[in-house]
Symmetry: C2
């Protein structure tokens, strides 16, 4: 099969159909368990049935499309069906339909595999409707599930879940169960960053997912009149926050050029031009593949809080995210490096700076990820784009990888 194969038309047609379902507003809208989401998972089940695959749906609405092999081992691929609000067309869906396409490619070319080939469309990864992320893959691997969630309209997670999932289970020839775990999982995904484009590589072979820590930092000074308070008698929360941010940024730069450092949120009180800020709160997000670097940053951050506190000026930090770095299967990664080279594509090994279902899957089974370039690195926005040639390349690499895993 080559990039000119007519089966691309099927992929393209399926892709357009599902993105059309979801184009309620300017971007893609498939919040988990919404009607768009039900329609999209329903469409996927039909695609699978048309391709002769076995359909299973579990209690969380994860959809499993199996091409049965000769033994009871399973080689899985897939990604998530949900999107953020007004998201792009490729985040998640590319890995679902690209994975389906890879399995169909293999069936057409090689027939029945040694191990079962499984496409998984996870229910939810984005955390855009309920305050939980990766709930689909977490359920599949029997991970920790957060209870009693409601969305911003007061709808309960369990109620929405049952109402949506029952529509999928009511479809003909759908098996209702949470199936057993595979012996390998590979996720195809857009990069959502600019690195592949900037370095002119066709494929990113993902070594793991960066560790991430997030703090809420609060600087408490004293609000006062901007005109009548002399400079030497101020306890200016914002000027202290500014110094602290600059200091933390310098620490991050020194520790590692790959340590991302982001102050994405900053709020000032009372936030009026003629009042010296009494209180400033800001977020700090750092990510790195090496946990020791994150430890070093945390130590330096805690030291800085004392350094920048003064009389009537206190700096405090609350860490509310500490995700350890994940290292993906070295064996599958090495194999994918070899296969990509054999196919003649340029690639780099890189960590993922964002979380994915693969982060959860990797805790239970050997896992790999394949990235394709995102134009200008834009994601989670209607302008998210990947060229068709790059989409094809990713699917061909995935096809080769699954062939290697399932047929030998």
């Amino acid at each position: 099969m080559t990039a000119d194969d007519p089966t691309w038309a099927v992929f393209k047609q399926q892709f357009d159909l599902i993105t059309e379902i979801s184009a309620a507003k300017t971007g893609q809208n498939r919040l988990v368990y919404s009607q768009n989401w039900v329609d999209a998972q329903t469409a996927l089940i039909k695609f699978g049935q048309q391709a002769g695959l076995t359909v299973t749906v579990d209690d969380y609405g994860n959809v499993y499309l199996d091409f049965p092999g000769q033994d009871d081992q399973i080689i899985a691929t897939g990604s998530h069906m949900d999107t953020v609000v007004d998201g792009g067309r490729f985040d998640g869906l590319y890995g679902v339909l690209g994975g389906l396409q890879a399995i169909i490619n293999l069936r057409n070319q090689f027939g029945r595999p040694q191990h079962t080939l499984r496409l998984i469309s996870f229910s939810e990864e984005e955390g855009s409707r309920f305050p939980t992320t990766f709930s689909g893959s977490k359920y599949y691997v029997h991970g920790q599930i957060v209870k009693n969630l409601t969305d911003q309209n007061g709808n309960r997670f369990d109620q929405a879940r049952k109402a949506a999932t029952s529509q999928l289970l009511a479809l003909p020839q759908v098996i209702h169960e949470r199936p057993k775990l595979p012996s390998a999982f590979t996720e195809l995904h857009i990069e959502q960053g600019p690195r592949l484009e900037n370095e002119h590589r066709q494929v990113g072979l993902v070594s793991g997912i960066v560790g991430q820590r997030r703090w809420q930092i609060q600087v408490q000074g004293v609000a006062n009149h901007a005109g009548t308070t002399p400079m030497t008698q101020r306890h200016d929360g914002l000027l202290t926050a500014v110094d602290l941010i600059k200091h933390l940024h310098a620490i991050a730069s020194e520790l590692s050029p790959d340590l991302t450092f982001t102050v994405g949120q900053l709020n000032v009180l009372p936030n009026t031009p003629n009042v010296i800020p009494g209180k400033v709160a800001f977020s700090v997000d750092v990510r790195h593949p090496n946990n020791a670097i994150l430890d070093a940053f945390e130590t330096a951050l805690n030291r800085s809080l004392t350094l920048f506190s003064a009389s009537q000026l206190t700096c405090q930090a609350h860490r509310w995210v500490k995700d350890l770095p994940a290292k993906f299967s070295r064996q599958i990664l090495d194999q994918n490096v070899k296969l990509t080279r054999q196919l003649g594509y340029s690639s780099i090994m890189m960590p993922s700076g964002a979380g994915h279902d693969s982060y959860v899957m990797n805790q239970a089974v050997p896992t790999a990820m394949i990235f394709v370039p995102s134009v200008k690195g834009i994601s989670h926005a209607p302008a998210e784009f990947t060229h068709l040639e790059d989409l094809k390349t990713g699917i061909l690499v995935l096809t080769a990888s699954l062939q290697h895993l399932a047929y030998s």
Copy 2:
């Protein structure tokens, strides 16, 4: 008359009566033309009539209480009756009732003056209800009046003004006119800053009002994913804003220790922990008695915008306030320095960092201001406080000053 004189009881009683009217919530609430404001101006008119003073009210609701002299020259004192929302008990009202007390002191002790003594209670100075400030004193000096104003409930300024003012004009023995300007104006006011308290001085003799400039600065970068965008490929609006603020603060410190520099307002877009800020807007407020210093800051600020702009990162500034410094009457100031020393009080000469009705009056007539200490410099808040001894001291200095101006 000494600080033990029984007339203090009258001042205290009047003060309590009017602050009681206005204690609708935790703080003082006399927004211009509100019912509290009408009740307070009505009470003041009655205080004036009980003291045998002539009452005049103009179309803006400014109240003038005259103790007629032997010629047609006028020596005036006063301040404003309005407050901010939930303001303190002393801002404005102290100068109104303190001025009345000074005139009554002089009448009791010296009888009819050479020049008419006038107490003015200006309608509005704070700009807390309508988007205008100093509208009372501006009307009195025939200054520029902003038209077609509405408050946040959609009430029109002119309608509110007429409804409130007509209630004052309906009181018995009230003359309806905008009277002629005085040959001197002195405003007694709390400092609203910590300087007198910190330097242990009883009186501040105000040399003028600082010049003030205010900018809205906008840093436009590119919003992007906090995890997947390498540090070298970011156009982080917040990190640039942080550098720019630090740079501007350093410039201000170098120019003059008396140049106040405040970034009171700062807003980030999209303001989410996991997104690199695409846009940051912040205010810059600088004040200094010397306009050349403000010019130098402005030149440096404009140079900095270019310095901190880069590819896909632009810094722009819009200046929306440029108030020139005001120098008060050197003659009255020198006289007040002398009188304060004779009375045995400690004083400093100081500029005012906040605007006052005196800023407007000074454009038309020789003007002076007398400050008394504000505990901890707190103002525009219920915690605003000045000790009774300090209130008395200020009134005694004002009395001596008015005596010097009106009786010789």
